[in-house]
Subunit: 180 residues, 2 copies
Amino acid sequence: MPRTSQTDLAVLAVLSVAPMSGYAVREAIRDQLGQFWSESFGQIYPTLASLNSAGLVEKVPGERAGSSLFSLTTAGRERLLELLRAPEVTTPPRNGLMLRVFFGHAIGPEAVAALIEQTRDQALQQLSVFDGITRMMQQETEHAEHRPYWALTVSAGRHSALAAVAWCDESLEALATFPR
Amino acid sequence: MPRTSQTDLAVLAVLSVAPMSGYAVREAIRDQLGQFWSESFGQIYPTLASLNSAGLVEKVPGERAGSSLFSLTTAGRERLLELLRAPEVTTPPRNGLMLRVFFGHAIGPEAVAALIEQTRDQALQQLSVFDGITRMMQQETEHAEHRPYWALTVSAGRHSALAAVAWCDESLEALATFPR
DNA sequence: TCATTCATGTAAGTGGTTACATGATTCA
DNA sequence: TGAATCATGTAACCACTTACATGAATGA
């Protein structure tokens, strides 16, 4: 029962690295967590407002004229730890590719193969994204304490993409022998 | 823009294998597609009703007194093919484990390791589920034309679970060297 | 000066879950 | 007769996306 939104957790977590604006929170999530998380403005701003009125974040003056950033309060930091330790909220699975492969008989082996080729391409593209992230991380000097953890997530992405490619290759070979 | 629900696709696809009741549709999804798809009653019954009034499925008398099953119409079969060939609706990623690992510095290496151990256990459990499915599939004599496709999905599940285990092992080793 | 980026927000809609209510059928 | 399973549905709620509206600051 996800009584509390996952967005709370993501926003608090991002703000724990550095105070920033709602706009910057979204950019951080897109650029740093994009491979395994996403939030939209329509979710971030209301969340920030509610966190603020709950005393978990506060507005601090920013560098630019009139701008203000959101910063974690002590209570916010505690709440973050609580949420990080809470059991994961698992969303029910919805894998469109697997659904189509499962009922592949209806569209035939060629159509399924086309779908899988596409998946293979995406996985390869992901691999190059992870390579890019790895290179960027090696140059980065800030946030040294976070980097080893970030490397673990990149490694997870790589493992899963490699597994996807292997399955695609295997399946394409198998599909070639299916009756058409 | 997912103008049309994914549930339509899933329900039509299940009914393409055999006519059945809404209750049976849910059981089929849970038992056969459970690893990569899910639907709730609250979604299935309204969907069945709307598919019926759209002329994509029809009620046919069932074996038991007063019971009736849903069967695909010709239009329903066409619609299914259309949906199977349509581009996949991708839901934005939400990986709670990766989010926690990414911000692992906040809870420390031991807590992260505990999370990963848990994930490893789940992956191993999944592997045994897939073994069970494989055994069941070998005995099954019906639906011979579907079986090769079902085997592909099982293989995908196995690949991904094995990759998960490998990543967990690697990460647990790495975490042991993190400063605490 | 004008396009781009930074920035904040809201309204409408949707796809979905959960919990509840109800009742028939089967079988021990 | 009574428990378990089969069966159908609905009402309330929720997290989230999309699209829209608005405007300040920056820099070519």
